[in-house]
Amino acid sequence: MNKLALSNDILLNIDKPARYIGNEVNVAKKDPKKVDIRFALCFPDVYEIGMSYLGIQILYDMFNRRDDVFCERVYSPWIDLDAILREKHIPLFALESQDPIKEFDFLGITIQYEMCYTNILQILDLSQIPLLTADRSENDPIVIGGGPCVYNPEPLADFFDIFYIGEGETVYNQLLDAYKEHKHKGKDRQSFLEEAASIPGLYVPRFYEVAYNDDGTLKAFTKTNKFAEDKIKRQVVEDLNQVTYPERPLVPFIKVTQDRVVLEIQRGCIRGCRFCQAGMVYRPNRERDIEYLKEYAIKMLTATGHEEISLSSLSSSDYSELETLTNFLLDEAKSKHVNISLPSLRIDSFSLAVMSKVQDIRKSSLTFAPEAGSQRLRNVINKGLTQEDILGGVEQAFNGGWNRVKLYFMLGLPGESEADIEEIAGLSNEIAALYYTIPKENRPGSGRAEIITSTSFFVPKPFTPFQWVRQNRNEEFLDKQRFLNQKIKAQLNRKSIKYNWHDAWLTGLEGVMARGDRRIGKVILDAYKSGCIYDSWTEHFKYDLWLAAFEKNEINPLFYTDRERSLEELLPWDFIDAGVTKEFLIDELKKSKEALTTPNCRLKCSDCGCISYQGGVCYES
């Protein structure tokens, strides 16, 4: 039986001890002494969140297919265990072998959202690995970061040895081979990092230095090591049918957020919404072959015993064989008692027909994400969803038996006016009104429409056409929220509309991290040292401590958010070649100012630059 890093006594006195014992179904079992490389994959949040993330399952499977690698997992210990590990000086451990992370060759951390940055420091700290790359020695693991936040890695530059820019399936094997050779030859850390720096897509931040202008903007970003490259090109899988996908995903004991088989049907999105970073940095759109997907769906359901399968992509409706795939899964579902979940579907007669087969209409709701209230503002952000699409979809839904509709909007989009915000209330009202045009005896549900309108706050992200625009201040966000709330309260059908609103304090900070530079690293370090972790969990977010950390380092957070950047300004992430060219982004920004839309990739190529990747939608016809 497995040994455990934690004593009985500790495990019986913390919440959900099964988070820390490993041993899940389909877990990798290897003898650590018989491998060349020990790799710890980390999602810096609590187990239930981390275990739900597909990317780690893909890499875990891919690494463990190699006989020379033993890949294990580690997640953030919850607050209760965090305190115990600190008090008793127990080093953080990996779930599989329960060995300390500090004994590993690699610690790979996926960076999925800005508000996990202090949790990254928690992981390093509890692992007893020096927080700063500069302080690490030969025996420390190589700390490597990947995921969407590395499209501006600069706020984290002090803490990572390497950033992996792009899709995990591409150059990891090359990196691992290089490491193995270095280890056998007994070479040092510095020379390994130099070799890593010469692998495409890998960024070694210590090989670059940064200079600033008097006004605080970036003056220069220069490489200081001859092995480093001037530009780091995002690495992309050309053909998704040629890469591995987990056949036997892990099945956790405790209930995790994503307690189902996740089938990634495609990567990238053809739509080109201007606010959406994922839609830009995962280009080009690449579909997986339908036969590949059918095969994996069956294999994964059989190997996990999950009761549900979910299709994953940025916009499922754009998958060209969605109908065939869904029908195949529906047939399987009938015989095997499997549920199907289809997120990010466009609401039309096809999707409504599918949904009425797979879910209980009385209990479910339909989701629309118009993002902006007015057609003008939807054109500004290039959200190709029209008023007719929404109302037409809703009407069909009401006639099909639904009475609950969820609507998602953003506040603080560039060029937004009060009238645009007011139209959010107007659209919500109109949808409710549509319900009451149905004769009383035919109205579905309780006899009342339930419209749930939610707003989030817009944060401009790197490698989008809005990377230069000003972000609203927290106070502006809150004012807009109040304004919208009043307008909703003034609608005729106000009793059928529920408005969900939330705090703005996290948003300001998210904006700083999203477009910050290397100087932000000190702020993150001080915030962490003063006690910030789990910032994305509202109940643990300590705004005062963050403010104090900014003040201590004499950094004004508004410099990073409340400021429109000139198109000439050197941006902290300009050294990355993400595929989309700056010319394209500038062009899109200009079109947005005139509320002009850009057609999707399948209708017309807009020359974004990603055709350089030799695959996907760019080469379809």
Partner: protein, 230 residues
């Protein structure tokens, strides 16, 4: 058709709680391709019920659940099929058919006692006999609303020392239920020992009342109520 499954929960699996164990088995039966019966409705679930939940931190050689299947198969084959899908620490010990398919034969409704070993240290020995010789053993039992003092002595069928362990046979089930942890708490109170000694508690088996009046014992193992499938 109703099948009773006896399984062991060992080692680190003691940290997996009851509700998670239920979900674990639901998925395991699907992996093992056991032809389970499902309830109706929009979210059908497998028909299964457990005898008596085991607390987190306890191990067991005698856990039970009853499941409904569409098709029977020989006990040996079924046992191997399910064991093939088990995580380390859970082992199926037997699969037997229960002929009576009514609720009255459910493991959950007939269980009346369970026995345990509690690992034992020398310092406990001193007052053990005095403790069990008490006229009444009073403990505070907490319910949702209130706390009240209860005499647990009548709920203890048997308690004695065996080498380096305490053996106890306790009331279990809906009519009267006593957890071994509570007995030990009363014991520590009585002996005025530190309470935070980590306890190693192992459930051995679960029992129903024996309806066979000829039998020597009043209790019968839940396992013995089923018949081997061949």
């Amino acid at each position: 058709m109703k099948v009773r499954i006896r399984f062991a929960k060992r080692g680190i699996m003691k940290f997996v709680g009851h509700l998670d164990l239920v979900r674990y088995f639901q998925k395991a039966f699907r992996r093992a391709e056991i032809d389970m019966q499902y309830s109706g409705g929009f979210s059908p679930h497998q028909l299964m019920s457990f005898a008596a939940p085991l607390g987190v931190g306890l191990v067991s050689e005698g856990e039970y659940m009853d499941i409904f299947v569409n098709e029977l198969m020989p006990s040996k084959i079924m046992l191997n099929k399910i064991n093939h899908e088990m995580a380390e620490g859970i082992e199926i010990l037997s699969c037997k058919q229960i002929i009576d398919e009514t609720k009255h034969s459910n493991a959950m409704s007939i269980v009346t006692a369970a026995d345990y070993y509690v690992a034992f240290s020398d310092e406990m020995l001193l007052c053990f006999n005095d403790f069990i010789d008490q006229e009444m053993i009073l403990v505070m039992k907490k319910s949702k609303k209130s706390e009240k003092q209860v005499n647990i002595k009548p709920m203890i069928h048997q308690i004695d020392l065996r080498k380096d362990k305490i053996y106890m046979l306790l009331d279990t089930g809906s009519a009267s239920n006593l957890k071994p942890e509570l007995v030990m708490e009363a014991f520590f109170d009585y002996c005025q020992t530190e309470k935070n000694i980590p306890l190693m508690i192992q459930r051995l088996d679960m029992y129903a009342e024996n309806s066979d009046s000829e039998a020597q014992s009043e209790l019968i193992s839940l396992d013995d109520l089923g018949i081997e499938m061949v």
